[in-house]
Amino acid sequence: MAFAVHFAASMLACWLTAQVLAASRWTWRAPRVAIVCWQAVGLALGLSAIGLPMASGLAAYDRPTGSALLALASDLGHGTLPAGMGAAQLGLVAIGFGIGGVLLATTVRSVHATVRAQRRHRDLLTLVARRDPTVPGALVLDHPSAAAYCLPGVRPRVVVSAGTLDLLDRAELAAVLTHERAHAQERHDLVLLPFTALCRALPWFRWVRDAHERVALLVEMRADDKARELHAEASLAGALRRFAACRDRITPVGALGVGDRDLDVRVQRLMLADRPPRVLGATALAVAATLVALPVSLFLN
C-alpha cells in the first residue's frame, strides 16, 4: 500500500505545484523555466494517475510498481496468483492501463487532427497567399482583419493579413515577424500539444483548461522575449497596443474576445525590465525534477 500512497502524494504535490505556478508572477520574468515546470507537472500527474490504481491493485506484491507488474505478468503466465490478488485488484490494474491508454489515444488523436488541419491550411496558403516585399520571408493574406500567426511544422510559415500590414509600422511589423519566427524555431506548437490533448481528454476539468491558458500565455511571453532581443521593446509593445486598440475601436463596449486580458498583461510586462529570477527559477526546476522523478522511480524499480 505504501507505493499507492507514494503516487497519491505525488498527485497532491503536482496539484499544489500547479496552484503555486498559476498564482506566481515570477513565471512571467522566466517564461521558459515556467514552461518546463508546467510540463513536468503534467507528466508527473499523468504518470501518477496511471500509477495510483495500479499500485493499489498490486499491494499484495509489496514491491515497487514496475517489478510488481513484471511479477504479475509472470504469475498470470503460470496461472497462479498470490493470496490477496482477486478480481477487484486485477480490475484496479486494468483501470491504470485504461487511463494510460486514454491519455495516449487522446494525444495521438490530437496530433492527427492537428497535422490534418495544418496540411489543409498549408494547401490553401499555397493557392491564395502572396509574397510581399515589405515582409520578406512571410506570406500575406489579402484580408482587412488584423492577424499574425505561425503555421508550425518542419517547414513553418509565418503569415500576416493585409489588415496587419495597414495596422503596424515597419519596426512593429519586424518585431511581430521575429516573434512569429521564435514560435516556429522553438516549436511552441509541440510545447502546447500535451496540454491541448489533456484538455481533450478531460474537458470538464476547469484547472486543466486553466493550465492550458497559462502555458499558452507563457509561450507568447517567451516569443516576446525573443523579439525584444532583436528589436526595441517599444516596437513590440506598440504592435500589441495597436492590436488591442483596433479591437477596442470596432468592438462595442463589453464585447471583448478571448485573450484580451493577456494582451494587456504582455504590454505591461514589456514595460518592466526585470532580471530573470535565478534562485527562484533554479528552485522551481529542482521541484519540477523531483515531481517527475517520484512516479518514474516507482515504475522503474
Partner: protein
C-alpha cells in the same frame, strides 16, 4: 515553393480569373491553353487538376468524353477560411497555429462565416477592391 505547388497555384488562378462565372467549367485543354507561356504538357495539367480535385479544391463533371473543371470555392472564400483559422474562430480545439495576437469583433466573425457559407462558387470580383491585389499573387513563391 515546390514546382507542384507553383503549378497548382497557376492552374487555380486560371480557374478563378479566366473562367466566366456562368460557364460550366473548363477542359484540361482550355487550362493548358491559358497557361500558354509555361509550355506545359497536356498530361501535366491533367495531373495537377486531378491532384486539386483530390484535395477538394476543384470540382469536375463529365461532359461527353472530357471532364470539365471548375473551382470548388472562390479565392475569397478560401481566404475567409484561412482567416477564421487565424483568428481562432474555426471551432477547432487543436493547436494547429500559434498566433501573435488577434483582433476581431463579433461582426467581423459573422462576415467571415457568411463569406464561407454564401460562396459555393465564383463571385463577381469586379467590384472587389482586393481582387486586383490578389491577382498579382502569381509572383508569390514559397520556400
Amino acid at each position: 515553393m515546390t514546382r507542384l505547388g507553383d503549378l497548382e497555384r497557376a492552374v487555380m488562378d486560371v480557374l478563378w480569373d479566366s473562367v466566366p462565372a456562368a460557364s460550366g467549367g473548363v477542359t484540361v485543354r482550355e487550362v493548358a491553353d491559358a497557361l500558354d507561356g509555361r509550355e506545359l504538357a497536356y498530361t501535366t495539367v491533367m495531373t495537377v487538376l486531378d491532384r486539386l480535385a483530390g484535395k477538394g479544391m476543384v470540382q469536375r463533371e463529365r461532359e461527353g468524353r472530357a471532364w470539365r473543371y471548375r473551382a470548388a470555392a472562390s479565392r475569397e472564400a478560401h481566404i475567409a477560411q484561412l482567416m477564421l483559422d487565424a483568428l481562432d474562430l474555426g471551432g477547432s480545439r487543436d493547436a494547429a497555429l500559434v498566433r501573435f495576437a488577434r483582433s476581431v469583433t463579433g461582426t467581423e466573425a459573422d462576415v467571415l462565416r457568411a463569406a464561407l457559407g454564401a460562396q459555393a462558387g465564383r463571385t463577381d470580383r469586379v467590384d472587389d477592391p482586393r481582387a486586383g491585389r490578389a491577382r498579382r499573387a502569381d509572383e508569390a513563391t514559397d520556400r
